[in-house]
Amino acid sequence: MNPWGYILTAHLITWSTIVLYLVFQKRRSHQLDQQLATRRRRPRHNDV
């Protein structure tokens, strides 16, 4: 393989992994925000 092939493969794997990690974090963060909003809106058992 051409040297640039190795360089670009290393960059592609590294940056795509980091971007994927950020995307999953963002999705999880959104889910948590929704769950927290639902919990806070719902009256607690001992409040009734």
Partner: protein
């Protein structure tokens, strides 16, 4: 704050990429392929830094018994595992054109792989234990003991005869690297440090919200 950190790390990463791919000269021995160093060294740097944060946060958690330190440790461990994995993969891609093999059981590669498995074990321990209090304590002990592998990883190229090159910057005396290459490496180290800080702030906020949600569920 997190948004500023995000933009700051993105711009430094772009500058680092420009320097690594266009500005830095090719190596006299290895040629163009040595440019992988500007990715490989910062990746491993972040992994070490992340595990150092786990080490310090684990000590603080055992000492102060504050949940905040446990959240910092668990957030940093996950980032450290990802960067150790990326460091091994990047090193393997660099190894093929320079050593002729993708992998060899060299002391540096082996101790780094052990480091990866120690912290995968740390994350597994956290996810399989149900008692939150014991989970935090046991994980903190693994986080402290696991860190002992890092000086071994760093010194492995000095203590044993290895294929991996010896230290070029963190060594006694002057760094054995051209100034333009050193500048490129330092910019990339800064970019990855900022990226780590951004990822840690995001992950910490996520873990914090998870804790709040768990507490709300427990109160119901």
């Amino acid at each position: 704050m997190s948004r500023i950190l995000g933009w700051l790390s993105l711009s430094t990463i772009l500058l680092g990429l420009l320097l690594a791919l266009l500005y830095a000269p090719p190596d006299a021995v290895q040629g163009q392929v040595q440019r992988i160093m500007y990715l490989h060294v910062p990746t491993i740097w972040v992994a070490f830094m992340a595990f150092f944060v786990v080490f310090v946060a684990s000590i603080l958690y055992l000492w102060k018994k504050t949940l905040k330190w446990d959240l910092v440790a668990r957030s940093s461990a996950e980032i450290g595992v990802m960067f150790t994995f990326l460091g091994i993969v990047g090193g393997s891609i660099w190894g093929k054109p320079t050593w002729g093999v993708w992998w060899t059981w060299d002391a540096r590669l082996t101790t780094t792989t052990i480091l990866l498995f120690i912290y995968i074990g740390y994350l597994m321990l956290r996810s399989y234990m149900s008692d939150d209090n014991r989970k935090g304590k046991y994980a903190a002990v693994v986080g402290i003991v696991g860190f002992l592998d890092i000086p071994i990883v760093h010194q492995s190229v000095v203590w044993w005869r290895t294929l991996h090159q010896p230290p070029t910057i963190m060594r006694m005396g002057e760094p054995t690297i051209a100034p333009s290459m050193l500048l490129t490496l330092l910019v990339n180290l800064l970019a990855f440090t900022l990226l780590y800080s951004y990822l840690l702030s995001k992950k910490f906020s996520l873990e914090n919200r998870k804790e709040i949600l768990a507490r709300l569920r427990a109160e119901d």
